[in-house]
Symmetry: C2
Subunit: 320 residues, 2 copies
C-alpha cells in the first residue's frame, strides 16, 4: 500500500499570479499525488498549497519547489499581513492512509535535513516534529519574523534543528513539521452579533469548558454579511461533526436563530461524514448503508449538515 | 457576612438506627447551621451526613461528633461494602458563600490538627487540601482500608499529615479535605441497554472527549428498571445543566428515545437552575425574571429540566 499523506506548504507570495504559477509548477501533472488547491491571499501576500498523495513523490517535488521559491522570492522586499520567517514559511506533513504520525515526523526530519544541506536554509522542526517544547507552536518560532530571525537564530536556544545559525540572505528560514489531520469546519449564523456568536463558540470549545478536541471562535464574513462560528475539529471521531452542529443549533435557538448553513474548508475524510449521516438516518429511523458511494455521501452531507460550497472533491477518498 | 460552607462527613455505621441517631446528635438543633440530611446505607454500612451553614459552628460540632463516633463504633467489628479507613471515614469542606476554596483548605488543616491532638487519631489531608500528590484521590489513601492501614501508616510515604504513625485502636484514621462544590445530576433513559447508555455518557464526559467539567457513566436503577446517565458537574457555570440535558436528549434520539426524567442528588445552587431556566425562556421567547423566588425556580426547573423528586429544599439558598 502506498503511504498517503497530505502536505500543506505555505509560501510568501500571494499577489503576482505569474510568479505563483511558476512556484507551484513542480506540483503539477504528477501521477503519484494531486495538488488539490492553491489559494493565494493578497492581503496576507501568501499562498496555501494543498497536496495529497504518495509521500516520497510529494517529498521529491518539494525540493524543486524550494528551488523555485529561492529564485522567485526575495524576502528583503516581501511585505504582507501574515507573519512569516521565509520564502517558504511552513511545510506540515499530515498522515492520511497507511502511514503514521511518527512516519510523518520522520518525513519532516528527512526533508528538513535535505533543505538545510542542499540550499543552506536553516530549518526549525515544529508541532509533533518539534525537538524542543518552545518549538511546538509556530507563533513562538515566527516571533520577530524574517527580519528578526537574522539575530534571533544566533541565540543558543534558537540554533536551528538543521543547518547553521545563519539565515539564507533572500529566503530566510523555514519551519517543517508533522501534525494530525484536522477538519476545518464553520457554521453560518444569521446575525452580525459578535458577542452572541462568541457565546456559542464558548459553549463548544475546549478552552472554555466545551468539547475536548474543538478550537472555535467567531468570524465575520464581509462578503456574506453574517457571522460564523469558525473551528478546527482536532479529533472528528471523538467530536463528530453532527454533535457540534446540533449543539450550535440548540445554543442558537435562544436567540431565535436557525443555523443558515455550514462549510468544510479544505478536505474531510469520508468517515467523518458517514458518522454524522448515520446519526441523522437513525434519528429518522431510515436505513443507513455504510458502503454508499461518494456521490451519495456528498448529497446526504449537504442535506443533513446544511453544507454549502460542498462537492465530492472535498472528500479525501475522492483523491486516493 | 458569615462564611457558609457545606460539610459532608461520612461515618462507618449504616445499620443500627439508634446508634446513628446518637452519632448525628451533635449536628441537631444548631441555629448556625442545618443538617440537611443523613442517609444511612445498610449494604455500605455507612451514613452520609450533609451539613450547611456557618463554618466555625460546623467545625465545633465536628469535634463532638468525632467523640461520639469513638464511643459508638469499633472498626475491628465493622463490615460493609464501602471501603473505609476509620469510624469517621472522610470529612470534606466545600465553599458555598463568602468563603474561598483556600479557606476550606485551611479549615481542613485546623480540624485535622485538632483531631490528631485531641483524640490521637492520625489524619490524612486529601483532595485540594492534599500536601502530597498521591493523597489527592481518596481511593489511594483508602487502599488496604482500616485493617491494612495499621501497617501501611508505618511506611515513610504514608506518615500521616497530622498525628503519628499509629492508627487509633478502635477508630482507625480519617481523611480530611476540601473540594469545590459539584452538582450530582442524573438523566433517566427509557431503556435497559447499558451499551447505548454508555455511548451517550461518552458523548458528554471529559474523559472521552466531551465537556471539560463532566464525569459521567451508565447506571441501572433496579427499583425503577431503567438506565440513567449518572454524572458529576464539576463546574456548573461552564457546563450548564441545560446544555448537558440537551446533548443527552439529541444523542438519545438516535435510538428513538425521549429522556424520561432527571434528578439532582443532594444540593444545587440557585444560579445553576436560573441559568438553565433562562435558556428555555429565551428559546420560547418568554420573559425571564432573574429575581424570581425559590418556589418559582423550583416549578420552572421541574418543568423545563424534567426533574423528579425535586423540591425547594434541594436548592442551597433555601438553607442560608
Amino acid at each position: 500500500m502506498p503511504k498517503i499523506i497530505e502536505c500543506v506548504p505555505n509560501f510568501s507570495e500571494g499577489r503576482d499570479k505569474e510568479k505563483i504559477e511558476r512556484i507551484v509548477a513542480p506540483f503539477k501533472n504528477n501521477s503519484a499525488f494531486k495538488m488539490i488547491s492553491y489559494e493565494p491571499d493578497a492581503d496576507y501576500n501568501r499562498t496555501v498549497v494543498t497536496l495529497i498523495g504518495e509521500a516520497q513523490s510529494i517529498i521529491s517535488a518539494l525540493y524543486q519547489f524550494i528551488q523555485v521559491a529561492i529564485n522567485e522570492i526575495d524576502m528583503n522586499h516581501q511585505k504582507g499581513e501574515h507573519p512569516r520567517i521565509g520564502a517558504v514559511d511552513v511545510i506540515p506533513f499530515i498522515p492520511i492512509q497507511d502511514v503514521t504520525l511518527d512516519e510523518c515526523v520522520e518525513y519532516a526530519n528527512i526533508v528538513g535535513e535535505n533543505i538545510a544541506k542542499s540550499f543552506a536554509i536553516p530549518v526549525f522542526l515544529y508541532a509533533k516534529a518539534a525537538k524542543k517544547p518552545d518549538r511546538v507552536s509556530l507563533p513562538t518560532i515566527r516571533k520577530g519574523e524574517f527580519e528578526g530571525m537574522i539575530d534571533k537564530i544566533k541565540e543558543p536556544e534558537w540554533y536551528p534543528d538543521f543547518g547553521v545559525a545563519k539565515t539564507h540572505p533572500t529566503f530566510g528560514s523555514v519551519a517543517v513539521g508533522a501534525r494530525d489531520f484536522l477538519v476545518a469546519y464553520n457554521i453560518d449564523l444569521p446575525t452580525d452579533n459578535e458577542k452572541q456568536t462568541t457565546q456559542i463558540a464558548k459553549a463548544i470549545r475546549q478552552s472554555s469548558g466545551g468539547f475536548q478536541y474543538i478550537q472555535a471562535g467567531p468570524a465575520y464574513l464581509e462578503a456574506q454579511k453574517h457571522m460564523q462560528v469558525t473551528m478546527n475539529i482536532l479529533d472528528y471521531v471523538k467530536n463528530p461533526i453532527y454533535r457540534i452542529f446540533e449543539v450550535v443549533r440548540f445554543e442558537a435557538r435562544r436567540y431565535q436563530w436557525d443555523v443558515k448553513s455550514a462549510e468544510i474548508v479544505g478536505l474531510v475524510p469520508k468517515m467523518a461524514l458517514l458518522d454524522s449521516i448515520k446519526y441523522y438516518r437513525q434519528v429518522e429511523d431510515l436505513p443507513f448503508d455504510k458502503a454508499m458511494d461518494l456521490d451519495k455521501i456528498t448529497a446526504f452531507a449537504i442535506h443533513y449538515l446544511k453544507l454549502r460550497d460542498f462537492s465530492k472533491e472535498k472528500i479525501i477518498e475522492a483523491w486516493i
